[in-house]
């Protein structure tokens, strides 16, 4: 079982690849049903965020274990402009791009854990996790 997968994100076409790889790994890790769709959709949102704001970056998919919980960890990383106002970026409906402004807050709702590290001029790293029930 491949437990870590890296998907480079350089264009919108890679978003589809990232969510397919994510779905495959999640299936291998034991997720099923609606969880697979939630995970794939969350990956789609963070991958699109890379394409829209940073042009390129990567998605890292891996198995995750923490305190007796098992699940999947998804990291979306880029070296783009970073986010100046994270609180605002996490507001539902707020967008600086051409989107609906639901990407980041939406991904947070879909997953169990969600964290953003970002610095203006230094890129953005989103780490999200979903645990098996």
């Amino acid at each position: 079982m491949e437990s870590e997968v890296r998907v480079p994100i350089d264009s919108a076409a890679d978003i589809v690849m990232a969510r397919q790889k994510g779905r495959t790994l999640a299936t291998e890790l034991g997720f099923d049903g609606s969880d697979l769709t939630l995970i794939a959709t969350a990956i789609s949102e963070v991958a699109r965020n890379i394409v829209t704001h940073a042009k390129s970056g990567e998605i890292l998919l891996a198995a995750s274990n923490h305190g007796g919980k098992r699940g999947i960890s998804i990291i979306a990383r880029d070296e783009g402009p970073g986010i100046a106002d994270v609180a605002r970026a996490m507001q539902y409906g707020y967008s600086t791009g051409k989107g609906l402004g639901v990407g980041l807050p939406g991904a947070k709702w879909l997953m169990d854990e969600f964290e953003i590290e970002t610095k203006v001029g230094n890129g953005t790293k989103v780490t999200m996790k979903k645990w098996l029930k």
Binding site: A13, I15, S34, T37, L38, S44, R48, G103, W109, L110
Partner: protein, 124 residues
């Protein structure tokens, strides 16, 4: 992947065959806007049964397609949204407000049929 568009009476049926990239979705939007004019269609069905993800971009594009086609004189109905996909869309707070939806192709055709009869009655 290119989405085939079939003409059925005064309706168009766009039947999505595989996962769609952002570019495919935009292509579908442009193709439908063209065909509605070419075939003077009154109704459009977009069958998304095979889509395993409908994210914010896809939702926004489908909504834009429906509103655009409405301006061109055609009603749009989205059919085949899977239960898991619907669940994820609700979790994301995504809605297809102002866009017709139906369970499957059959219900979609019935939906457009009812709409055209209603419009006939009101002399539209």
């Amino acid at each position: 992947m290119h989405v085939p568009i079939l003409k059925q009476g005064d309706c168009l049926i766009a039947s999505v065959q595989s996962v769609l990239s952002d570019a495919d979705l935009l292509q579908l939007r442009d193709d439908l806007a063209d065909r509605v004019g070419q075939f003077r269609s009154r109704g459009v069905i977009i069958d998304v049964t095979v889509l395993d993800v409908i994210d914010s971009f896809a939702t926004r594009t489908l909504r834009a397609v429906a509103h655009m086609l409405k301006l061109r004189g055609a009603e749009t109905v989205i059919v085949g949204i899977q239960p898991d996909v619907a669940f994820a869309m609700v979790q994301l707070g995504l809605t297809l407000e102002g866009v017709g939806t139906a369970l499957d192709l059959e219900e979609g055709l019935a939906y457009l049929d009812r709409l055209s009869k209603k419009n006939l009655k009101h002399g539209k």
